[in-house]
Symmetry: C2
Subunit: 419 residues, 2 copies
């Protein structure tokens, strides 16, 4: 593979990202760009203008996904798509999502300038929503594009102020019958570039992460019920201490999770004690449980065995035990062929890379249901994301964009890659 | 020892307790009678009237402690005092404190009726405050009577509504220079009857608990600082999970506390995780620590060793560790001679008894600093207290009162007992 572009093609990438971060910018450096808000709309219009200037043909679909197209000679061939999402979490960073959109835009612009029209149509997409930060529903953009969501799925859903998804969409100028339907049946490949949101690349000193799979997740709410008693007058042997039970469970959880090895992760993010008074034995404890793995069977058996062990601990301590699974997503495998192509692009540019599992969800997992999909990561300083401290260096950002462009070139201009 | 009274002397005790519970009664059965409130004042006036009807000479001191006196023939001899406190926690029960006051009142009334005037003066006290429920300061009643507190100690102290202790006291009609000073220098013995507030008597099937000591307490606030990271993208080996550190500490705490054996108790009543989001690794955990024992040296060494072990755990996990001791009271030994007298009284009435340690604080521990003091407990159903579910049977209540009366008889009427 011979790189079609030199790195100067991406010199303006960091500046463009900074410019995009102006939409929804907050004092202190954070960015808040929630679905269908004014700052979100302004960001999409800004990107549309940039696409147009780069010579891409632009369009919005009914949900507000923005596409920029570089028409291929073979108009019947499946489309090669890249991109990511434009929305943010509250007080998020300037890279999560935005980076993949801007890098895709610049890659298409540079390929057009340098290589002319492709064989197969190339598109970049700025997906309207991925984070689930305004409405209790994530992947609204990629979900509608892939058919995982229909507009019906948004019905009855409202934000914290009671504004429904449908109202918000109309206010932003979308959701009209006359607008382009969201569902795409013509996508041949999807490649998403993203910051890692973790510390694996930084710790291992690699430039590019090649995502083999996106983990499946299970989230549980666990409640333990004991007896709330006087901390002074109840001997240790006469207690039904809900917190002591939780402690035994969570010690076991950590041991089991470490023994299972990467990529399994198990996290208790919230634990509450009731009544929560220093001199009263907790009569009730509630905690959350977040478990992830890239293999469904392993995820399933880890969760089942862990909960069975928890229940045995509760029984042995005379505690009531209740667990409720409130979120379950299956792991998604990325396409081997596409990932191999990204790996060869790294080699050709002498970028160090490593294969890895994404512990966070991404739009690519929705596209993987309808076409070959791949993802690549660049390092994120300290593994920080969803924060104003999110940072990747200009070099890291441009290296990632160049690898993405090389891969897109092979897919859209190359003679070899065919599905 | 021959019991001076038969049980019929206490037949009206449960009814009188119910009547007293009317002051501050809440829907649902709880009682709230906070220091210097209207319900508190009404309860003290009610008790004063009952004392007067029983032929006791009554007086309030400057803090609002109410005394009922049965004058002894030897007016120079030290006074034999019994009683407890009249205030309650918020939505407390009808027995905690009140029982000791009402039982003392009935014991003095019955002794007067049956045995006439004693050799040594007998008094019952309804102490104004013990719980620390309205103002952040406990034992205001016994503290002022024994000189542990002076009125100065109440300065600058206010309740949740900003009303100062001094204002509240004036509103209730106390705190005047012209009123009887609180400090008693004439007490020769103090005996307090109380419900157990624990489950030891019920579980061991004994009627009377003889308190050998009241535990000392240490309370700590502990803060652990780790790194708050993404639950999906941070491998188990790269975490600085503050909750996982706390779990290791609390597992060790339970093991160490059980190994130390009774009467050591160690409790974590409140634990909080920050930021407290299901998919974010806790970057900070705060928990409370309440440790009690009846031997100062053992309490001290247990606390020191436990905190050192906690610190080592934090260090090994790369967590920040901070602990702050915000309460430290020393254990108090009850008087052996008085406790022996109570034990003989139990034997004479064929009441089963056991010696035990009080894991909760009581007014008796303040009197123990100035005179021989003793305490006896009756069972409390399920060990429940500070709750509307607090309950002891009429039989349990009258048995306890009879043992108290026998002891007071020996102390005030007997030829044997002298200090």
């Amino acid at each position: 593979m011979r790189p079609p572009l030199d790195m100067s093609a991406f010199a303006e990438l960091p500046g463009l990202l900074d410019e995009l971060a102006g939409f929804g910018a907050e004092e202190g450096g954070g960015v808040t760009r929630l679905l269908y808000t004014e700052s979100w709309r302004a960001a999409q219009l800004f990107l549309e203008e940039r696409m147009r200037v780069a010579g891409l043909e632009t369009r919005f679909d009914r949900a507000g996904n923005l596409y920029g197209r570089l028409l291929g000679a073979d108009s019947a061939a499946p489309v090669v798509l890249t991109g990511s999402h434009v929305d943010t979490v509250r007080s998020g960073g300037r890279y999560d999502g935005s980076y993949g959109v801007v890098a895709g835009l610049m890659a298409l612009a540079a390929l057009k300038r340098t290589c002319g029209a492709p064989l197969r149509t190339l598109e970049v997409v700025s997906l309207c929503e991925e984070e689930g930060s305004r409405f209790p529903l994530a992947y609204w953009g990629s979900g509608n594009a892939t058919g995982v969501y229909g507009f019906d799925d948004g019905e009855g859903i409202a934000d914290a102020d009671g504004i429904t998804l449908a109202e918000a969409m109309r206010t932003a100028g979308f959701g009209l019958e006359t607008q382009t339907p969201c569902l795409r049946r013509d996508i041949g490949a999807f490649v998403e570039l993203h910051i890692e949101q973790g510390i694996v690349l930084e710790r291992s000193g690699r430039q590019i992460g090649l995502v083999e799979a996106i983990v499946g997740q299970r989230r549980y709410a666990v409640t333990l019920t004991g007896a709330s008693n006087h901390a002074g007058t109840t001997p240790m042997s006469m207690r039904a201490d809900a917190l002591a039970g939780a402690v035994e469970m969570l010690a076991l959880l950590e041991t089991r999770a470490k023994a299972a090895g990467d990529p399994l992760v198990a996290t208790v993010g919230r634990l509450e004690t009731m009544p929560g008074t220093p001199n009263v034995i907790p009569g009730e404890v509630r905690f959350t449980l977040d478990i992830r793995h890239d293999k469904e069977l392993k995820l399933e058996s880890f969760c089942r065995d862990t909960l069975a062990a928890f229940e045995a601990i509760a029984r042995s301590r005379g505690l009531g035990f209740e667990s409720r699974c409130w979120l379950a997503t299956k792991p998604t495998q990325m396409d081997d062929g596409l990932t191999g192509l990204l790996e060869r692009a790294c080699l050709a540019r002498a970028n160090s890379s490593r294969r890895m599992v994404s512990g966070a969800g991404h739009d690519a997992q929705l596209f993987a249901a309808v076409c070959p999909a791949a993802m690549l990561f660049v390092p994120s300083r300290g593994g920080v994301s969803h924060s104003s401290d999110e940072y990747s260096t200009p070099e890291q950002l441009t290296e990632g964009a160049a690898v993405l462009a090389d891969c897109l070139y092979e897919l859209a201009y190359g003679q070899e890659w065919r599905r």
